[in-house]
Every structure is written in C-alpha cells, then in structure tokens.
Symmetry: C2
Subunit: 196 residues, 2 copies
Amino acid sequence: MTDSVAQGRPKIGKRERLVAAAARVFYEQGVEKTTIADIAAAADVPVGNVYYYFKTKDQFVQAVIDTHAGVLAEIVAGIEPLPGPAERLKAMVASWVEQRDLAARYGCPTGSLAAELDKRPDAFGGEPARLMSLLIDWARGQFAELGRPDAAELAVAFVAAYQGISLLANTFRDPGLMVTEGARLARWIDELAGRG
Amino acid sequence: MTDSVAQGRPKIGKRERLVAAAARVFYEQGVEKTTIADIAAAADVPVGNVYYYFKTKDQFVQAVIDTHAGVLAEIVAGIEPLPGPAERLKAMVASWVEQRDLAARYGCPTGSLAAELDKRPDAFGGEPARLMSLLIDWARGQFAELGRPDAAELAVAFVAAYQGISLLANTFRDPGLMVTEGARLARWIDELAGRG
DNA sequence: GTCTATACCACGATAGAC
DNA sequence: GTCTATCGTGGTATAGAC
C-alpha cells in the first residue's frame, strides 16, 4: 500500500470543517433556513464538493447532533473532578452564564436545535431527546448524590430552567437575564444541599 | 350605496380563516417549513386568492403574532376575577398543564414561535419580545401584589420554567412532564405567598 | 373579489470533466 | 478527490381572465 497522504486522500479536516461550519450556521440561522450553499461558504468549500462528504442535508443534521453530544460530554468531563454534587451543579450553571452573550443572540445550542427538529413528524428519530437526556441524566445523578429522592423531577426542573431562561434571554436579546437566573439557581442548589 | 353584502364583498371570515389556518400550521410545522400553499390548503382557500389578503408570508407571521396576543389576553382576562395573586398564578399554571398534550406534540405556541423568529437578524422587529412581555408583565404584577420586591426576577423565572418544561415535554413527547412541573410550580407559589 | 396560469428564482442533488 | 455545470423540483409572487 503506497503512502495515502501523498496520493489523492482528502485534505485532513475538510469533513470536520464542514461539520463545524454546519453547527455554527444551523445555530445562527436555524436548520430550515440554512442551505447547503451556506454551509459550503462558511466552510470555504466549493458547493459541489460538499456532496462527496454528505449526501443529504439531514446527514449534516445528524453530524451536528453528534458534535453537540461531544461538546456536552466535554463540559461534563471538565466538571467531574469537583468534590461534591452541589459544586458540580453550580459549575454547570456557571458554564451556562459564561455563554450568556451567545445565548442572548442565538439561544441554547441544544435547545434551539431540539425546538426546530421537534416540529418534524418523527422528531428526527428521537435524536434531540437523546441529546437532551445527556444533560438531564447527568443532573439526575448529581441530585441523587445529594440524597434527593426526587432527583429525576429536580433534574428536569433544572434543565427546564436553563432552557427557558435561554429562550427568554434570546427573545429579549438580554444576557443579563442569564446572570440573574444563574444566581437564583445557585441559591436553589445551596438550599437543596443544606436540607440534604 | 348599494348593499355591499349582495355585491362582491369578500366572504366574511375568509381572512380570519386564513389567519387561523396560518397559526395552526406555523405551530405544527414551524414557520420556515410552512409554504403559502400549506396555509391555503389548511384554510380551504385557493392558493392564488391568498395574495389578495396577504402580500407576503411575513404578513401572515405578523397576523399570527397578533392572534397569539389576543389569546393570551383572553386567558389573563379569564383569570382576573380570582380573589388573590397566588390563586391567579396557580390558575395560569393550571391552564398550561391543561394544554399538556399539545405542548408535548408541538411545544408552547408562543415559545416555539419566538424561538424560530429569534434566529432572524432583526428578531422580527422585536414582536416576539412584545408577545412574551404580555405574560411576564402580568406575572410581575401578580408577584408584586404578593409583596415580593423581587417580582421582576420571579416573573422571569416563572415564565422561563414554563417555556423550559414545554420544550422538554415536546422533545420527549411526554405530557407528564408538564403535570409534574406544574405541581412543583404550584408548591413554589404557595411558599412565596406564605412568606409574603 | 375570485381564481388560473405562469413567471421567476432558489434550492437540493447529480453528472461528469479534470 | 475536486469542482463546474446543470437538471429538476418546489416555492413566492404576479398578471390578468372572469
């Protein structure tokens, strides 16, 4: 087998560049409004060449969902070393507040993608639900570690609070809403931990 | 002036039927995915005739926003007679829970519309924000009546909780999430009222 | 006011040269 | 593997007969 790099192998990262561009443009403009040409332009790849990597637009959607899952896993992994569940939950809130300017402009990446795909009759095969589960399941584990028997309910409320405030921050183009709600959630977690 | 009804005056309600159809189809499929032909079919009006009433798709969007504002005003008016702010807030929660099956299938009508329009560079001229303000301003008034100095913050958290749980119920196609979170919000309101 | 026919354009996707 | 040219579809919007 000859050196595949010297031959016509695809430029490394081209596929990755396309997915990253798709994730960005989907987030900024929405999936339905985005054209293949938009993605190609954002990735600086000629339109026709795109089809060598992705046959349909929905293949981009699937790839972007996988990317989001990876990002979520990274955030969770970064929080993991913290000593206790309350600290970890508050670190998650802090990471949300950190992203407040993006949220105010485009909403939560996961939430706005889910909202759009949920309108489809098949909800894109339940992929958005699987993505959202990553966050909820993690939160449930933290609340359970706090000794809460209602951990499942609290995890849903926790993520719902984030999704809701992201939508409002986006609607009002006001990152300050993320800060205020983040502080409220942090106090709430402290109360729950105190009672535990 | 001759009897305008006997002459070629537009069938009464035709414009209203178009707006109602647009509201329904936008809610079910999303704005961007919906075509003028979809709206015409849902309203049982020939496609070509639609343009006599609405020149552009965005005029439909504006009309649908106005419709939503009217529905919201009706809900608020129906709650108004209740004796106290805590009762009124809980009645609002109850109205959300009542709509759980629709929310599980299509999300919150206001929220999913806002999420989609927020992706536009101009956020549709801030119309979604005005719509959302109707709810938040009302809630702020109720929390203020409860004697809460942090009424503004609580109102945002209250509406965010609803928007968030609607998105999650939609993503998981699970109306039960609305019931659980509704009960949680009701307990929360009772606590706030007790401390007031 | 109502409706048909159609202009026009943008998009997704493909064929095939290089 | 890369890219251009293009096909077919489906959408918005208009012209104009009735």
